[in-house]
Amino acid sequence: MLKCTINGKEIEVSSGATIMEAYHKLQEEIAYYCWHPGLSVAGVCRMCMVEIEGNPKLQIACNTPVAEGMKITNESEKVKESVKWTLDFHLINHPLDCPICDQAGECGLQEFYMTYGKYNPEMGDRKVKKHKVVDLGSQVVLDTERCILCSRCVRFTEEVTKTNELGIFNRGDHSEIGTFENRPLNNKYAVNTVDICPVGALTSKDFRFRQRAWYLKEFETTCNGCSTGCRVNVFHNQNGLFRVKPIYDEAVNGHWMCDEGRDIYKHINLDQRLRHSKAGAQQVPLEKALETAKQALKAAGSSAALLITAQYTQEENQAILDFFSNELKSSNIFYWKNNEETFEDFDGLLIRGDKNPNTQGLMNLLKEKSASGSWKDLKAKVESGQIKTVLVAGPEMLSVYPDLNEKVTVLSKTQTIWLSTCEHEFFDQLSLQLPVSGFAEKNGTYVNYAGLERKIQAGVKFVAEALTLQEIVSAFRGANVSKTNEVAL
Amino acid sequence: MGLKQRLSQKLQHLMDQVENQINTPYVLVHGCCSMEVENATSSTYDWRRLGFASPAKNIEDADVLIVGGWIHESFSEQMKSVYSQMRGKKSVIAIGACALSGAPYAKSGEKVIPVTDVLPVDVFVPGCPPRPEAILEAIQSVKKLQKPQKDHKAMLYEALRIRGN
């Protein structure tokens, strides 16, 4: 371990570490664009200049290894002057696009301009004009005038996805990021380039012009797109959820996140949600619906069945399973496995075939209850008439359950209580639907493929009547669950 | 009918005519909008020319209530009682952004509520504060609301206003 002092503070780093890693470890303020903890060192933006005692020339922090007893500072006048000028070089050909740029408010240039900027631009000559609004692929739009050529996105496609779609074309100040003719940027992690782009050159088509960054609040939770359970930040305000970005998590997803996971915010917004309980197509007040469900389940007693998907948190599974085995003394518990054939896939980085966040957790609980029934058994029992009433803890993400329609047509014959987060016109054939809160509206834990606990927290509350399974079970046990019209957080 | 009855009928008609022309406003305005109401009663923008009497002292004999300034939740009870004390045909003019919507104070955590939560409002006068001419405009709209049948003078005003603007 090497010892060095940064701006007067003592720090110890592993041998071979660069000065930038020491700064990163110490959480000390330093200006940089092209360095990224998850990528290789490019050393091209020349912002991270530091002054090392005994070395007349300023060194770049991202590529200079730490030596024992090095005294490093980036607060001296010489460094500030260098960063000020290098930032000015970045800005002389940068277009005045802040009003129409999505990155405004969280742009690297704006941030460092406030601390190191010159505030009186001296460049009187014409700016270099390049291509605007370049369509890179299905997810990402590029603006080469805004690009500061830090090559983060190029290194991302080289090192992380290893698909090499992006490259820097031409030379000198006419260099441009771009893709080759018939090779658009269409890999499954393309939107990560938008996150790591320090400026507004790469913007995501899904979020394009939808909201301004300073209108969004964020809360940390876990993605429920598949069983990897990446740590993510969900951005929202009172009108709805807007986007999802990854958070660095050593154990599971590192700095990255897949593009499928970025769409998980869509099914929480009001337009797709089941807002009121419905009997068939008829809207029913919540208390009355809960009452009829309770009566139906109590009447069926041990012949009531539970069809459960692995989309619920561990606490919810525990509550519903205890209710069935203790109160109803019924052992008809059936597990609905969605995509049978692609269940074990794994793309080598983050995407897993098992699209449920809590399969492992549910499996452990089912083993405890020694319930191993699957959909085929339930179907046989329903058609043979043995089971009359079924409680379905339905899926939250309908898109990953292609076999939904087949289940609904079978269950529409018996008395079915379907718990669902999202609305679907097929559900109107069922006898009763109850709204359930989505992953962004409840606290709980998922257990990911490797058995790690992945926490989620209630960041927003859009559907007032949506309940969690614990609340539904406590309602069945007679507790009065009156849902006043809470204002969304 | 004797001359006396016809005379008294004509007198009565004249009195009604005058009676209709004159509305007596009760001013319940505080904050910067009260300045503008004073302006409207001042000699420059005199609203007596348009048939508004000077602000009534007691509520009973007023038939137009002018509301302005931010409305705090605790104040809404008194306003309702004021409104209920007015007798006969009554209408409300709400002036100023603070009354109409709570403007900048609405989201500031203070319990400032818009006037529509408290009283049924007939004429809204936006502005912060609205110009005295806007209050005179509001007065004419109130008169039009109270006496819907054709009023040549009002139509004349209407024509002038559109052309003049």
Partner: protein, 427 residues
């Protein structure tokens, strides 16, 4: 007068062929070297005080000693890119004496224990490339290259690699990237090429003249070589004299030779009726010397260093009073703006900014604080990038503007008086 150590037989046609070269003592030194131990060769080269002739002037012996001692295979690259404007000495050497270069390279390769070497020749030099390839074929046929050279057990392969026409590929790591098939962009240092260069293996990059100078050093020994030149800058150097002189061309003189002698004796003095205004001693990236400074200057690394300029690649460009310095600087800046590889921001944007400003100054649409702005931008470009191109662009700008400030001011007031400038035609 010239001291022809290397260029003695350049006038003879046959010197280019293997037979002609061997008749005049060619490849004898190679036999002598193969009998010596590699460390001994490195010691003689270090002792001879031979310094890099390409532009940096770094001591060749020291550079060779940076190589790791293990037996990891390493490469020797000959930098024949010669992109520095004003330099045309490597071309002469490759056309007239390819075998001298090949012999020098084999000896150097043997010294550093490299099995593979490349000659990276500038793509535009089609004729020299043909000559060198022909010479290589002759060397292979004569058993001087390939397996078990002259029975000494040392085997070595040598190839020619054509450059793609980029000034940046003259820079050490830029050339390495180009050789690896990547975009010709310099690599981050550390790690230095001597530790991790071509294909991440230790690599030594030397100029054509440096490698050719190894032959006389090994032949006559270090002390004989030291007789030429000054104490710190030993040996002779080829200077490419160009500009407003009667006889421009390549002249081999000892280091420490007086610049004014080179111009007046070898170069035949200025054209009639012209007065010397300035001299660029070491290629376009060297700061300019005024007429007075040129009179005092001697052609060696130390003296030019003290005068604020540098020997560089030895391209002496003579400028007389018929040329406008503003026009010259604008052309140089346009060259660097075009040649910047665009990796590092200060150089990519700075060269563009300087080029546009100087173009505006040339057309007279500028004020005197724009001159301070040029100085400011240039000062803040230097020393902040991966390679020295930004310094190569900034140094001429600073020296031109500060040493010929009055001419720039007069130019701004009166506009261009020497008729149409080269830059105006160019844009």
């Amino acid at each position: 007068m010239e001291s022809k150590l290397l260029t003695e037989h350049y006038d003879k046609e046959s010197f280019r062929t293997l037979k002609g070269y061997q008749e005049l003592g060619g490849y004898e030194v190679l036999k002598k070297a193969l009998k010596m131990k590699p460390a001994e060769i490195i010691a003689t080269v270090k002792e001879s005080g031979l310094r890099g002739r390409g532009g940096a002037g770094f001591s060749t012996g020291t550079k060779w000693s940076f190589l790791p001692k293990n037996d990891e295979d390493r490469y020797l690259l000959c930098n024949a890119d010669e992109g520095e404007p004003g330099t045309f000495k490597d071309r002469l050497m490759m056309e007239r004496a390819p075998h001298q270069l090949i012999e020098g390279m084999i000896i150097s390769a043997y010294a550093i224990g490299s099995k593979k070497s490349y000659i990276y020749i500038r793509g535009e030099y089609t004729y020299p490339i043909r000559v060198v390839e022909q010479a290589l074929r002759e060397a292979y046929d004569a058993g001087l290259l390939g397996k078990n050279i002259l029975g000494s057990g040392f085997s070595h392969d040598m190839d020619v690699y054509r450059g793609a026409g980029a000034y940046i590929c003259g820079e050490e790591t830029g050339m390495i990237s180009s050789l690896e098939g990547l975009k010709g962009q310099p690599k981050l240092k550390p790690p230095f090429p001597a530790v991790k260069g071509y294909l991440k293996k230790p690599t030594i990059v030397n100029n054509v003249e440096t490698l050719a100078a190894v032959v006389p050093i090994i032949r006559d020994g270090a002390q004989a070589y030291r007789k030429f030149g000054t104490e710190k800058s030993a040996g002779t150097k080829l200077f490419s004299l160009s500009g407003d002189v009667v006889k421009p061309g390549n002249y081999e003189v000892t280091l420490g030779y007086k610049l004014s002698d080179l111009i007046n004796n070898e170069g035949g003095g200025l054209k009639s009726g012209r007065k010397l205004k300035a001299v660029i001693p070491g290629g376009s990236s060297a700061p300019v010397l005024t007429a007075e400074e040129a009179a005092k200057a001697t052609l060696d690394y130390e003296c030019l260093q003290q005068m604020g300029s540098m020997l560089g690649s030895g391209a002496v460009i003579v400028i007389d009073d018929s040329h406008s310095m503003v026009d010259l600087l604008s052309t140089i800046m346009h060259f660097y703006h075009h040649e910047s590889c665009g990796q590092c921001t200060p150089c990519r944007e700075g060269t563009g900014w300087l080029d546009k400003m100087l173009h505006r100054i040339l057309l007279g649409e500028a004020k005197s604080q724009d001159l301070d702005q040029v100085l400011n931008v240039a000062k803040n470009m230097m020393g902040r990038t991966i390679c020295a191109l930004s310094d190569a662009a900034a140094l001429p700008a600073i020296s031109f503007v500060s040493k010929f400030r009055d001419e720039f001011e007069r130019h701004l007031k009166e506009g261009f008086k020497e008729g149409k400038s080269h830059a105006q035609m160019h844009h």
